[in-house]
Amino acid sequence: MENKKEFTCIVCPVGCHLTVTKEENQYNVNGNTCKRGEIYAQQEMIAPKRNIASTIRVEDGFLNLVPVKTDKQIPKEMIFDVMKEINKYRVTAPIKVGDILIENILGTGSNIVATRNIAKNN
């Protein structure tokens, strides 16, 4: 791993420019304006994680798709594997916002949850 890295914080819309330097076994974060930025920067140095959003095909619903998201961040390098897995699923209406549609996806510890209600088609 390099000793110095610069990137944009993605925690909130402010988008601080972060500089991280490694000293011994510790990461020093500069440029952040909040604690969450520091945590993000350290995580980014060790093992970057992301949340993703997608959709799942719905049977019998008011719409054909339900939007979903990861409820915990997943390792960045697993994004496309998780997408592939999501695309295998089909669910049936009705669906409520917050419903867990896929549990612990690919062992990441993150669930795929619905982000809206889909009423049954009548």
Binding site: T55, I56, R57, L65, N87
Partner: protein
């Protein structure tokens, strides 16, 4: 066995189809595109010219003046928008006033109605937005603007009501003289017919060549336009031309049939009939020239730029005549401006040629010259709107917000006999997507309605031309 095959579904071909449908004939119209009204007819100034600038004695002059006189009744019979708003040729100097006088005299010779030379004060009264530099103008009360799309659709629909058959995606590949007349070879099978009418616009010279005629060439000439948003403050009331000088013909600033303002066109000879590209240099030219007529035009209010290609003949005049080499073949080539206004007169001229060439005139017993347009919900009074929605609830479901177009109108546009098959076809018939958001909101809904009504998958829905599919695939299926 057909009596007549018309090649080309532009305004000329459709006008001829409608005119000939009053005879008891089996008539087919072939169009190479996915829909009719796809080439020069869909992208031009849409002006019903007075006819004062055509050379006296030319076919153009005759067709223009006669066509102009036919529009008021035609627009009633076929129920399309024609606004006789008058035109002005603006003069910016005394020198230019001399040209205006020449145009006036030419107009009188051509028997143009409603011509008058007026002073700057009158010009301002007629069109308050014109430049203060204007010293006078030629006013032509008989000029106007037309909905070129629905003019064409109306003529085709009416022709089909009277029995004409339409074959789209049918491209002419060869003509063969035989005992029964002419064999029309296409990518979609052959048609045996007695007469063939070449109304192929930009391709009319190539088709003349197929019949062994080499009397004219098309010099494709492109024109770039800018269309402005409908804003009350920007409204133009008339068609504003500039006085032609050695430097050029100037550009026009005009109201469209639906109340937008439009400027253009450039006039550039190009190598290929396919080139409908726009470029910033051309836009800069029309912007500059447009501002001479109306100084407060603001390009910021643009909703669309587009380019049309005119079928300019190298001979300088319309080329409408019976082939000397292939009996039964009639050419209608080189129909550049003023082709749109001339269309109904050209159709009657072709009719005369056919009769001279032996076509019998037995009437179609079921001929009906009238056609009703699609009801526009936005144009109805409050009570009429209520009535219409009661009669058909789909007219209460507004799909296009900018132009207030209902699902009922879109369905009607698709279900008509020469109906819309594409997103742009819907747009040109009922204006869904024609407004300032250019289909951003209604696009997905129009795709959905087209797929449902045509019973095709959304991935099969096209924007306009055969190769213009919009949706690549279904997700998550």
């Amino acid at each position: 066995m057909y009596d007549i095959i018309i090649v080309g579904g532009g305004v000329i071909g459709c006008s001829i189809a409608r005119t000939l449908s009053k005879y008891d004939k089996k008539i087919g119209l072939i169009e190479k595109n996915y829909e009719i009204c796809q080439e020069t007819t869909k992208a031009n100034s849409a002006i019903v010219h007075g006819g004062y600038d055509c050379k006296p004695g030319s076919l153009k002059a005759k067709m223009n003046v006669k066509g102009n006189s036919m529009f008021p009744e035609l627009s009633k019979d076929l129920d399309f928008t024609f606004n006789k708003i008058g035109s002005l040729v603006l003069a910016f100097s005394e020198d230019e006033m001399k040209t205006v006088e020449e145009l006036y005299n030419r107009g009188i010779e051509n028997k143009v109605q409603g011509l008058e030379i007026i002073d700057a004060k009158r010009v301002k009264e007629i069109e308050p937005k014109v430049s203060d530099q204007v010293v006078g103008a030629l006013y032509c009360a008989s000029a106007g603007v037309v909905d070129p799309f629905n003019l064409t659709y109306a003529m085709m629909e009416n022709a089909m009501d009277n029995g004409v058959e339409l074959f789209t995606e049918t491209e002419l590949i060869g003509l063969e003289k035989n005992h029964d007349g002419i064999l029309v070879k296409t990518n979609n099978g052959d048609f045996q017919t007695k007469y063939v009418i070449n109304a192929a616009g930009l391709y009319s010279d190539k088709i003349a060549n197929m019949g062994g005629d080499y009397d004219f060439n098309i010099i494709p000439t492109k024109g770039v336009y800018r269309l402005f948003d409908k804003k009350k403050s920007d409204t133009i009331n008339t068609v504003l031309f500039q006085t032609p000088t050695e430097r050029g013909k100037g550009v026009l600033v005009t109201a469209t049939y639906d109340g937008n303002t439009m400027i253009g066109p450039t006039s550039d000879k190009i190598g290929t009939v396919e080139d409908t590209t726009t470029e910033s240099e051309s836009l800069a030219i029309i912007d500059k020239l447009g501002k001479l007529s109306v100084p407060d035009l603001n390009p910021k209010n643009t909703i669309r730029v587009f380019t049309g290609v005119r079928a300019k003949p190298n001979t300088g005049d319309f080329m409408i005549y019976a082939s000397k080499n292939m009996e039964g073949l009639v050419h209608c080539g080189g129909i550049e401006s003023p082709g749109l206004v001339s269309a109904p007169a050209i159709a009657e001229y072709v009719e005369e040629i056919l009769i001279e060439n032996g076509m019998d005139t037995k009437k179609n017993p079921n001929y009906n010259p009238k056609r009703k347009g699609i009801v526009r919900i936005s144009e109805l009074s409050t009570e009429e709107k209520s009535e219409k929605i009661k009669e058909n609830p789909a007219y209460g479901k507004i799909i296009c917000r900018c132009e207030t177009v209902s699902e009922g109108e879109i369905i009607e546009a698709i279900r008509r006999n020469a109906g819309a098959k594409t997103v742009d076809g819907v747009k040109r018939r009922v204006r869904a997507g024609m407004g300032r958001c250019q289909g951003g909101f209604c696009g997905p809904r129009v795709i959905e309605i087209l797929a449902r009504e045509l019973n095709i998958d959304p991935t099969e829905v096209r924007k306009d031309l055969s190769g213009s599919k919009i949706v690549e695939r279904h997700l998550k299926k």
